[in-house]
Symmetry: D2
Subunit: 373 residues, 4 copies
């Protein structure tokens, strides 16, 4: 198999994360050709050169469109701020490149729809960066559900909480502007939705209640400015198969750092998971003797694929960046025409429609069907 040539746009949080994934994927998995790190784009030209050396890219540019024209580039990682995703992804697809785009697709539903149209027109692969679904724990939970280990699932609760907006003394910044999106719904709800999708399919109907813990925040000029979106979202949901659910997201939840807590209740058992302890999950089953029934805390191990590709010993732990390596492997599988567990633009769009349905349900104080979005 010919090695893929990689272009990367952006060198921030996610840019570095993609760079690590491209550097590691063949060492970790062994069954994919080692990608060629061809071209790195970063608006700051000097930084582009420096990061290219660090990340191992052969060429650097301050103009991301150079990647479109580079015949050595087969795939483009889009890791820039959200407002650039649509333009870059569409251009990349139109230039005949595969696209690996960080979530969300776009800041506007119309843009997201155009991205999907571009992908369809191009025939190229487009994968979204929803890395939490790649955790071997999540994959194993899916297989447990599929085989009926907890019977028929009937109720789900999922919470995503962090505290980066929790300080009321922190200065107003763009994340509190309406133009940046709905707040917790955009920042967080998409991740739980990606996990729910990976387990059960897309949410069908919602009613949300959005809340502002702080009506206004101080500005650096010494005044105060009204907060324009909501740091807290609480959502009742209907999921496929008659599953009832609750989705909660709070980006002002003091003490929570990377919490994505999942409770899954079935007719013969239950499953619990928390991303802050991403190398374990809890399972309650009703077979066996009642006197010893309890939630088992199960540590990930080589038999929870593809943990084995990282470490041959159980309980030694993967990290956040490792999930991106798995996602990268799934992207490469998709490009090779093989089965792939990744969220493409079809599912990515549906997730964003779900978020918009949540926002509408709050505005209109009523249940909203997502399909009608």
């Amino acid at each position: 198999m010919k090695a893929l040539g990689i272009g990367l746009i952006g060198t921030g949080y996610m840019g570095k994360c993609h760079a690590l994934a491209w550097n590691n994927v063949s060492t970790v998995f062994g069954d994919v050709a080692r990608p060629r790190l061809v071209h790195l784009a970063e608006a700051n030209g000097e930084l582009a050169v420096a990061r290219a050396k660090e990340f191992g890219f052969a060429k650097a540019t301050a103009n991301w469109r150079d990647l479109l024209a580079d015949p050595e580039v087969d795939v483009i990682s889009v890791t820039t701020p959200n407002q650039f995703h649509a333009e870059m992804a569409i251009a990349a697809l139109e230039a005949g490149k595969h696209v690996w785009c960080e979530k969300p697709m776009a800041t506007d539903l119309g843009d997201a729809e155009r991205m999907l149209a571009a992908q369809r027109a191009s025939g190229k692969v487009a994968v979204m960066g929803y890395n939490y679904i790649q955790n071997p724990v999540m994959r194993h939970i899916r297989s447990l559900i599929d085989e009926g280990a907890i019977g028929t699932v009937n109720h789900v609760r999922i919470e995503m909480d962090e505290d980066f907006m929790a300080d009321p003394q922190a200065l107003f910044y763009w994340k509190s502007e309406a133009s940046s999106g709905y707040g917790a719904l955009d920042d967080f709800a998409v991740h739980p939705l990606s996990l729910l999708w990976s387990l059960f399919g897309h949410v069908e109907a919602v009613i949300a209640s959005l809340a502002k813990p702080y009506a206004d925040r101080p500005t650096k000029e010494g005044g105060r400015r009204a907060v324009e979106n909501h740091d807290i979202a609480s959502v009742l949901m209907r999921l496929p198969g008659g599953i009832s659910g609750v989705l909660m997201a709070n980006r002002s939840a003091w003490g929570r750092k990377g919490r994505i807590a999942l409770q899954i209740y079935g007719s013969t058992g239950s499953i619990l998971y928390d991303q802050e302890r991403m190398n374990e999950f809890q399972l309650y089953k009703t077979d066996g003797r009642a006197t010893e029934q309890g939630f088992s805390t199960i540590l990930t191990a080589p038999h929870h694929k593809p943990y084995d590709r990282f470490v041959p010993a159980p309980g030694h732990g993967l990290g956040f960046n490792d999930l991106k390596v798995i996602e990268c492997r799934e992207l490469m599988a998709a490009i090779a025409g093989k089965p792939s567990r990744a969220i493409d633009f079809v599912d990515g769009l549906r997730i964003e429609k779900s978020v918009h349905a949540m926002a509408r349900s709050h505005r209109e104080q009523r249940w909203v069907e997502v399909g009608a979005g």
Copy 2:
């Protein structure tokens, strides 16, 4: 202070629990006169005699109305099935007895209102059996909130889950009949509501989604019968002071045994609690250095009053029955005209109105103001 004469109706789960409380309250607290255990009523006359001996009551009867006529009886514990609460409590109040009534007040809102009217007419004390609010942990959480330890509270989540209805193979029984109430709302929601009340006051508005994990259940005759109420309730709430909240109750949650999990988010910290580990709570505060901030797991200790009345050593643990002893002490304080932390019929009625508002909000698929209930 003259010792109170006690009458007890019922000798089941809660009857025994009240008996233990009456037996223990003076030994534990030392500052109340040891109650005289006067008269025990139990429909089964032989059982009444046996239990009276075990529990230490002087007299036994199969006719609960004998307690009304007994001049030695000052207080009556009502621990019979829910449908008898109203009749017994009203009769006891009309007979000039104080009343300690297990939750809920009644199976019908009209009855509950009549109970409150009877209490007002009698001038006697009436206290509901909401023992979870008596946990020294809950009292301490309240004092932390009052003193601003976590700033201004802005968001709350509370979950109450058990699994006694989780088995779909279990035979249909009265708990799945509509006549027994709404299901999870009646069985469970009242407890979280009592805790929320003790911390923040009564819920103001709600929208609920009720769910049936199992549409029908087997009957002992070999057929199947449709389930008439809901084992799962998910509720968005508005609480006093602009606090947004979510209340979740599930009596078919495999693996949960006595879970009442509370998350309280404030502007400078957070508090977590779970009734399954009732001797501890978790506190996150933002003072001090960021590098050492985390949720502290705090074990109850003598400085968390009135834990000290039970054990002088920290971390040694109270049990479920101990909370009833504290509740008993609060009842005795109320009877003595002293300040008391207990839920009387005024607050009890409001809690039940909140439940009815939840049920209505589900039926009508809209937000309902509780005050309008």
Copy 3:
């Protein structure tokens, strides 16, 4: 069965705990005659009268020997400071009373041996107050081991830690005097030894290392005084059946409040327990599929006898004082000539010999056989 007449010496921590047990035992268990609370002794005469009223005792005295002469008294609870145990227990036995004596037996091995001799001469029942072995969790662990649920046990670790001696600024007091005993060994090691005995039998050989975290402590006169015993004990052990073990005790362990952490490793599984979460234990078993093996956290429930006598619902929790009620029930069983799970003077003496062997092994820096003690 004629009701037992109870005498109680002491009204402190353990005196109150015994009083609660005597008050509760028939209500909780139902199968024992309600004890008659006859006579309470407390050196402070006024306090004796007050506590008798609170605790429900008919008579009060400042002279504990009055209980010996009281024909209504059948059993005497000895809950005074350790140095009085021997004199009181021996006198009670000689007066023909059964004895319920708080641990340890005595401050001197010779006294303990005299206590055993007195018990044997009297033919009466004598039971030690080792309440932790009465936890339904511990009983269930024992039954799991007996039935081979974790195969053959080969290794055990047990830690008992609190922090009441952890503050180096705290004034020197009698607990740091050599005359009070060895320190952590006396205060704590006896409890782990009682648990190990209840599971495996008596320890066979030991080598200990004792440590002083603080060489001296401030005195109230403003000087400093050398600490004469050891707050920390670390012990390697050999247990019956070739089990290797480690016992650790630390009464200056900041943050530990009532920790007794037990790890039991067997050929097909493991068991974990911590007294600070006394209503749960953890079990790892190797049957079933490897991908779901993990430690199960099992909450106590009615099927873990005799939890059911306290609460009919699972996961609702017992408290420290409830364990004393169970111990009381075991004492009454022994008096009635029935099988009883309690530590009598034979086993109590052996536990104290184990402690002395530990102290000697430290002094002589060598392994010591307990049998040779």
Copy 4:
């Protein structure tokens, strides 16, 4: 700075781990020149070629001595089975290469001493692969101790437990042969010793008790063979500064997967850590109000250096392989003549002497000073 040329011997568990580290170190840290992956040696020539492609090495060989002669190679990673470490490391040093050698140094103390001599003669850098000390958690714990956050440390307990030897039905294999070493002491004790060294310095004196959970094991021929070393080690220790300690290691501890549990007790607080939850630690401090004192669970975050080099968001988690990247960075710092937190051959030798002292203390049933080893 000229980029280092890397040679790697071995492509198993640790070979792959080193390869990932060399691939990632410049992307993660940014402040070191991206290493050139020059030459990979693997006894199986075909595998060597395949792995070189996957890992990104330019050349492959079946003869590890080719790396010695390769002028492009500056550093050699030695990741082969333990019995080859001495020969390879000494040859590499003699060829003027820096060495990164997996633990332990050698299977024989004489070999380890020769390795140190070779390092000293060469003037090159030699670093051992003790990656657990590189966890940002461990670094932060060290800084907390240094600044006196928990006062003066007086007691330490450390446990390392896994279950890969726990199954008594598993066939006898080389790990149970005496020639493979002491068992748990070699496999495990070195890791806790590395952590203790990183926090307190080297252990001073020890007395160990070694145990065999299974006297013999089945052979594939259908017979049984006696186990020649010990799967369980329990050690009392004296550490610098008068700290008393206990070290426990068990490679037959069912349910433990990668446990390294550390308890550190000081005069004003305590610290807990468990490698199975490597992204968090617990801290108990005695400042502040007693009513809120408890163990805080602190999630690693960017302020716990160098976590920030991997992820800019807190609580997102590092994995086992990330620790090797940090170790690689420390090695490169040492090569550049900068301060480095790594275990060199001096400290590595002392750790192995400690293990030998433990084994002797068991044989001779007495305390052994490590310095005298």
